[in-house]
């Protein structure tokens, strides 16, 4: 079966836009977490977020789109444009066989809430006729297609916090099935809107005692962790069949070597205690990559920093990786990026590629005192200089979903 390769990466994240800035921030352990500014922090117990503070849509699109499009679609367009530039794909590409597969959890929820507010405050006559086309998740992929002239399959998928990982894994499958030669894949999320933020706050999944110390708030695997910090942004990868990439002389960054996805079919909020299906997702990913756990150089953990996730994930990794879990270094980029839900898996894949190219593995910040129930080989505090040839990335999500990706470095 054809290998599927990553030939370009673009990202808009709380620690930088574009791979140069993103890589430097990852390497230097920069935190993207700060005071909540996109909505009134007053009513909430958690008053911090990982916002993209410097985002200027006009760098990436015309004023019309900058005014009208939901922020989540703007993130995807921006990251997609950067990814295409990175891959040098547009020139000479057969765009009838290039498509889009973007993951998102909440999609344009902020836009939908805003339209609802307009309706309640100003009445039906002020409802925007674009709303039927903009207030659904599909707008993210279709706007990318329209902006870039991509005429193959154009899809948005929504599987909560595994969305970005699923989009990359299923993108590989679509290319291997011969439905497209190239795809923009990844995730986009812009969930920081008053009502959804309030709901997350009430869910009790966000830290409450770090409002004065935002950079210390996301602390996966640490004893004093209190939860996830809501984040936003997008990461888009250009995937191509190896033949297509070779034919156009593309630069190979990495291969999407394997993918596994399962569901506990158990709960909207919790993974099943046994972790059986999460283990199975990791095993499926390794199996489809044709590698054993002993070959891994690095694990990019889901690592949300919630009380529940981190020990659960530790048990899953120890079971799925066996002896290799005593050796393979693990970190959670969410300590730097916050948790951007459906974009998280894609941002973490981008972070792995950055580490493969830059000779380092990103750190878990704030891991000062590891929880004994999270006894993995952690990369604490600072990035580790190392060569990553083979990496595993895990994602778990609402609906008790599990997904895992295996990425392999390519030299040439």
């Amino acid at each position: 079966m054809s290998r599927v390769v990553i030939t370009g990466v673009g990202c808009v994240t709380p620690i930088g836009t574009g791979m140069v800035a993103f890589t430097e921030s990852l390497r230097n352990g920069v935190s993207g977490i700060g005071p909540l500014t996109q909505c009134d922090p007053g009513p909430h117990q958690c008053r911090i977020a990982a916002e993209v503070r410097d985002f200027d849509p006009l760098r990436f699109m015309d004023l019309r789109e900058a005014r009208a499009l939901p922020r989540v679609a703007q993130f995807a367009v921006a990251a997609g444009r950067l990814a295409l530039e990175d891959a040098g794909l547009r020139a000479g590409a057969d765009q009838t066989r290039t498509g889009v597969l973007v993951g998102t959890s909440s999609g344009p929820i902020a836009y939908s809430f805003e339209q609802q507010s307009i309706f309640l405050e100003r009445g039906a006559r002020r409802m925007h006729p674009s709303a039927p086309a903009f207030a659904h998740n599909g707008v993210i992929a279709s706007e990318c297609a329209i902006q870039f002239g991509l005429r193959g399959p154009v899809l948005t998928l929504s599987s909560a916090c595994t969305s970005g990982t699923d989009a990359i894994g299923l993108g590989r499958t679509i290319i291997q099935a011969g439905l497209a030669d190239a795809l923009l894949v990844g995730g986009a999320e812009a969930p920081i809107t008053p009502s959804l933020f309030a709901a997350f706050d009430r869910l009790g999944m966000m830290p409450r005692h770090y409002n004065e110390f935002p950079e210390a708030a996301s602390r996966p695997f640490d004893l004093d962790r209190e939860g996830l910090v809501l984040g936003e942004g997008a990461a888009i990868l250009v995937l191509e069949s190896e033949e297509h990439a070779r034919m156009r002389g593309a630069r190979f960054l990495a291969e999407v070597g394997g993918y596994g996805a399962t569901c506990d079919a158990f709960s909207h909020f919790h993974q099943k205690e046994s972790g059986d299906d999460a283990v199975r997702a990791v095993e499926l990913a390794l199996g489809s990559a044709g590698v054993g756990a002993e070959a891994l150089d690095y694990v990019s953990a889901h690592g949300t920093g919630t009380r529940e996730n981190d020990p659960f994930e530790t048990r899953v990794l120890r079971r799925a990786l066996g002896d290799a879990a005593r050796r393979v270094p693990v970190s959670s980029s969410k300590s730097q990026l916050g948790h951007s839900l459906g974009a998280a898996g894609a941002m973490e894949a981008a972070a792995i590629v950055a580490g493969m190219l830059g000779g380092f593995a990103p750190p878990t910040l704030n891991l000062d005192n590891a929880d004994p129930e999270c006894d993995l080989v952690h990369i604490s505090g600072q990035a580790r200089q190392c060569q990553i040839r083979l990496a595993l990335s895990t994602s778990f999500g609402f609906g008790s979903r599990n997904a895992a990706l295996v990425l392999r470095r390519m030299d040439g």
């Binding site: 015309d62 004023l63 019309r64 005014r67 009208a68 006559r125 002020r126 925007h128 006729p129 674009s130």
Partner: protein, 85 residues
């Protein structure tokens, strides 16, 4: 500025049209029919109307879409709305 009586809305109208239709202000001013010459559809017309509404804090009657087809026609509508308030 916004509340003065003798406002000339032409610049605001042209700017809104240029943004929405991705055309230069010269092209906007030169168009005899925005629908025919610059492919303005009904959604674009609503976007333009909303931009003008935001600028002047007024309501533009979208039912007059049939006349909403040139800078002059739109400026006339806006003038009427501004004078009526």
């Amino acid at each position: 500025m916004k509340t003065q009586e003798s406002v000339d809305p032409t610049d605001v109208v042209v700017r809104a049209l240029a943004t929405e239709l991705k055309a230069s202000e010269e092209e906007i001013r030169a168009a005899r029919s925005l629908k025919t010459d610059l492919n303005m559809d009904s959604i674009a017309a609503v976007n333009v109307a909303f931009m003008i509404e935001d600028e002047y804090d007024v309501e533009i009657d979208i039912d007059e879409n049939d006349k909403f087809d040139s800078v002059e026609a739109i400026v006339a509508i806006v003038r009427r709305v501004l004078e009526a308030r």
